[in-house]
Amino acid sequence: MSNILSALPQVLVDGLTLGAIYAVVALGYTMVYGILELINFAHGEIFMSGAFIGTGLLLSLGVFGIAMPAWITLILILLLTALLTGLLGIGIERLAYRPLRKAPRLIPLISAIGISFILQDLVRFFAEFKTGNYIVTGTTLFEGKVTIPFSSIIGTFHNATIKNNTLILIGITIIIMILLDIFVNRTKWGTAMRAVAQDQETAALMSINVNKVISLTFFIGSAIGGATGFLFAQQYATIDPYIGFILGLKAFTAAVLGGIGNIRGAMFGGLILGVLEVFAAANLSTITGGVIGSEYKDVFAFTILILVLIFKPEGLFGKSVKEKV
């Protein structure tokens, strides 16, 4: 018990880091679902593409010998990665989903899975073509770490260490989430997005171009997912074309946990899932006396998900959906 408690600060730090990634990626799922009732299974691969695009940009800066202060490089790469993955998202919607909008729901879902494979293979091809290996290790912009002296606050806690990269990741993802929340709730186009999610036909009667709003939704969801991919690459150093699959699945889980279609729900769902997972990884073997090891962390996290869905099927923050009259 005292082990669990003393490790808690580090668990929280690592859990929130992972959770922040889940949260931003979950936003992409939840926004698209809210508007089209489509599970965009390719979204995990957009995250992965962002990781590769960002890392690729960073490596080419090195190749061309362009040196800038690290934070300028970071911002530039984030913006460029966001722009490119945003356009990728728009393109995917145009090519793979829009022609199928009136088809039965299963069909665009299959199309989304197809896009996932295409993106995985494309990225693998380019990575191998450029570096000879599809597993890529990037350079890191920010070395160093900070120690937070939790032990001096409460004696039973151990200190937590945070990499500078982690601080940046948490900071930027929080900024992304705040900006998105303001955009969706306070701006004209954000309100139009919610209007389209609630009633497309009527939104069109208000002179809202529904296709434009859908493109915008894909752009934003993909841009923030892609940018987070680059932050992920910085955080964990090594990336491969398949990181999007499991991470996407978990981010989708986070979106469901928070109530799919609910933007704030996705944010909290992501953070909760991240903390649960890291907590399980750190403590499962202590709790069960070594019977169940940390490799069962996903089982633990998904068990929580199943329990939530049994008792609150609309998700933690979702409203129970009434049939439209």
């Binding site: 004209k188 309100t191 139009a192 919610r194 209007a195 609630q198 009633d199 036909e201 009527t202 939104a203 069109a204 009667l205 208000m206 002179s207 809202i208 171009n209 529904v210 009259v325």
Partner: protein, 237 residues
Amino acid sequence: MGYNSLLELKQVSAYYDQIQALHDLSLHVDQGEIVTLVGSNGAGKSTTLKAISGQVKTTGTILFQQKDITKLPPHETAKLGVAHVPEGRRIFPRLTVKENLEMGAFQLKDKKEIQNQMELVFQYFPRIKERLNQQGGTMSGGEQQMLAIGRALMSKPSILLLDEPSMGLAPIIVEQIFEIIEELNQTGMTILLVEQNAYQALSVAHRGYVVQTGNIILADDAKALLENKQVTEAYLA
């Protein structure tokens, strides 16, 4: 036929997938008129409005302010000044009343203009002003209908298409809604009104069309239609 009609439909047919819902229907609405389409359920009244705003596939010609709008999608039609209040009100349930109104004014760029338009809506519907921060879906049916009309007015339209504004409302509320329709018309608004409540509709309208199985079977002044035996027997009984 009005040569300078604000809105004119010439031999319009409309289709839902394979099913034809309108058969060469022609009508016109002049500036400043209230024109009503009456007829029984499924006659094609709502479809006529949907054809105008581009929600169904149509053939034939639809002219609005002399411009051919037959093939325009709904959001383009709306931009030209056609405000369609759909059947069942279709308030955005999880937007606030204020946000609903703002969406009505989506095409207006000037904040001042939007504010003015909102003040105008409050004059017609004082109750809306008291509920600005409430979610649209939590209002009563009558309030939602008022909001739906108010929302349509936000775009500064040249014509209002009203689809069954009295549907499901208590008689006293229906009375109020029709008073406002007349009031709007007196300040210059042109209105095309679809109603099952033929008596009410013909009482406020200048002219009326009787629609049956996707065709106009009778067109006359509203007063004359109210006294027409065929109409009274079929729709006013």
